[in-house]
């Protein structure tokens, strides 16, 4: 399959094309530096994203900000978001506290990014 992507490493934003058969990335073209080539490799085989989001807090409309502790696989983003959205925490919560463990079976925890007392 043919892939087309924009490198995010610098403002150049190189348009990189490559082929991927599910096993191996081949024919990577359009990159200007080694970082671009490496980016294409991982972005095609195993794209991941940090997800930052909001969870509910008991007794208030004001939400709590959270993030995945490490990037999760890109196809899991919306599943993770809907699980996060259903979560309600009870204060106090502090930065780094685990709010959801192993979100969507990703092996990654969702942690608080702010303090509420």
């Amino acid at each position: 399959m043919k892939y087309e992507l924009t490198c995010i490493n610098c403002p150049m934003g190189c348009r990189i094309t490559a082929d991927y058969d599910g096993k191996e990335v081949t024919n990577i073209q359009g990159f200007t530096c080694a970082r671009g080539k490496a980016y294409a490799q991982t972005e095609i085989t195993d794209p991941t994203r940090m997800v930052t989001a909001l969870v509910g807090v008991e007794g208030t409309h004001v939400p709590l900000s959270v993030k995945t502790q490490t990037p999760i696989r890109k196809p899991l983003i919306f599943d993770a978001l809907s699980e996060i959205r259903k979560t309600v925490v009870v204060p106090p919560v502090h930065i780094g506290d685990v709010v959801i463990s192993d979100v969507c079976g990703s092996g990654v925890n969702v942690i608080a990014t702010e303090n509420i007392e």
Partner: protein, 487 residues
């Protein structure tokens, strides 16, 4: 239809509210019906904010008469109602040698109309000495000493507050849908909030005043709204011009005004475009470009980076070329303030006074010995000195909380604007009463807090808070219902 009103006023603009206040000088049961969520929501809120000297209208017209009469009443309004008024003079600038004859004509017209104070043509040297920033083509100008500026919202709100203090009733979101003459000579007023009986009706419905006149009288009036588009420039430029700078009308057009406002911003406009839709208050690319192009003769280097907003207003331009005031022969007890366009703001105190006297005579209303003409403005933190500020905060700590940073408006002022009689019900209402959100960030910072305060004071959810009533809600929903999930 239990109680019978003496007077029902249709329309909460400057004329309607002014008339309500004047009527309270008599013993009268008065109700004002306003179709929108707030008073001062039509042409009274979107105009040039000028107190016209009175040179512009043709001698012998109602416009000429009431302009000059109204002009002379603003010092008293300032004193009684605590409304900012500045006599900064008006200048009508001619940009060509040929303009001289037209200036002479205006001068003559002004004298015939009885314009008070200084009225004379000044030469280029004096013009430039008075207004060093006037455009390079400027040749001479008519100086109108009786020209001034006023805050049109504060005036309208002040009229309404003072009327309400003295017993007038106000209903908003009250659209009048029908008027009917009853056999007893009274009027039946059908509205979206109920049906009322009244001895007299005042038609102060602005752009819709033709509709009500035509409902009851064969002397038809047709109003075609004339839309004007404006720019507001940051108060950083408050000193660019001292006078209101009119352009001498030429065959190319009526010209664009550049004028300081009492709030320190500079107003540029308006265009004049006849339109069919009485609610069409859009700004247009064409109109805004025209405004700037023409204004550039007066102000050559308009700082486009200092624009803080644009808006448009509709003038209730009738087909008679003049105001239509008073009782039509075939509709006794129905009093028109119809087709009151410019100089309507300036004329409003005189129209209100004249009309209330007409009505009082007709209904035989007695003097009201308890009438209190004094209304105090909401104390403005931004205008206080240090001692006043300290005292204000001591009396009410909410003065210590600045909500609108650009205009330095405190929480105390915002809460008072909501709590006063005929108080603010929406974001725009707070804006007009306090200036919160009218500054250079255009409410970017203060909107979230203003929404909270309004919700608190009105006892509603923040989701119910509107910009200007109706469906103009700002927010759509909560992400989380007090901790229960939203899924």
């Amino acid at each position: 239809m239990n109680e019978i009103y003496d007077v029902i006023i249709i329309g909460g603009g400057v004329v309607g509210c002014g008339t309500a206040r004047e009527l309270m000088r008599r013993k009268a049961k008065v109700l004002l019906l306003e179709k929108t969520n707030d008073i001062c929501n039509g042409q009274s809120k979107a105009n040039t904010a000028i107190i016209h000297g009175g040179y512009d209208a043709k001698p012998g017209t109602l416009k000429a008469k009431f302009n000059v009469l109204g002009n002379a009443m603003f010092d008293q309004l300032h004193e009684e109602l605590d409304v900012p008024v500045q006599w900064n003079t008006s200048l009508v600038v001619s940009f060509s040698e040929e303009g001289h004859a037209s200036l002479e004509k205006l001068l003559d017209q002004g004298r015939q109309n009885g314009v008070r104070g200084e009225l004379r043509i000044i030469d280029e040297a004096e013009l430039r000495q008075r207004e060093p920033n006037v455009g390079s083509e400027a040749k001479e100008a008519l100086l109108v000493g009786a020209g001034g500026i006023v805050c049109p919202y504060e005036l309208t709100v002040a009229y309404a507050e003072n009327a309400a203090m003295n017993g007038a009733e106000f209903l908003r979101n009250a659209k009048v849908t029908n008027l009917k003459k009853l056999e007893n000579g009274n009027w039946k007023v059908v509205s979206t909030v109920g049906t009322f009986e009244t001895r007299a009706v005042v038609n102060a419905a602005g752009a819709y005043s033709d509709v009500f006149n035509n409902m009851v009288s064969e002397q038809k009036v047709h109003i075609r709204p004339r839309r004007g588009e404006y720019y507001i420039v940051d108060k950083k430029y408050r000193d660019v011009f001292h006078a209101a700078m009119f352009q001498l009308p030429t065959k190319m057009g009526k010209g664009i005004l550049v004028a300081p406002t009492v709030d320190g911003t500079v107003l540029i406009g308006p265009t004049a475009e006849d339109i069919d839709d009485k609610e069409d208050k859009r700004t247009t690319a064409f109109g805004l470009a025209k405004t700037l192009r023409e204004a550039a003769r007066t102000w050559e280097h308009i700082p486009t980076r200092a624009f803080i907003t644009t808006f448009s207003g509709l003038r209730a331009t009738g087909d008679k070329g003049d105001f239509v005031l008073g009782e039509p022969e075939d509709a006794p007890g129905f009093f028109n303030c119809c087709a009151v366009e410019s100089p309507g703001l300036t004329s409003s105190p005189a129209i209100a006074k004249w009309l209330s006297e007409e009505i009082a005579g007709k209904l035989d209303l007695k003097e009201n010995p308890d009438f209190n003409p004094i209304r105090k403005a909401i104390p403005k933190f931004r205008e206080m000195n240090a001692a006043e500020r300290e005292a204000a905060i001591k009396a009410n700590p909410d003065f210590g909380k600045v909500v609108c940073r650009c205009e330095t408006v405190t929480e105390a002022e915002i809460r008072e604007a909501i709590r006063r009689p005929v108080g603010a019900l929406d974001i725009d209402g707070i804006k007009r009463r306090t200036r919160a959100g009218m500054g250079r960030c255009q409410a970017g910072f203060c909107t979230p807090r203003t929404v909270e305060i309004l919700a608190e004071e009105l006892g509603v959810s923040p989701l119910e808070v509107t910009k200007f009533g109706g469906d103009s809600k700002l927010l759509q929903g909560y992400l989380f219902e007090e901790g229960k999930n939203n899924a």
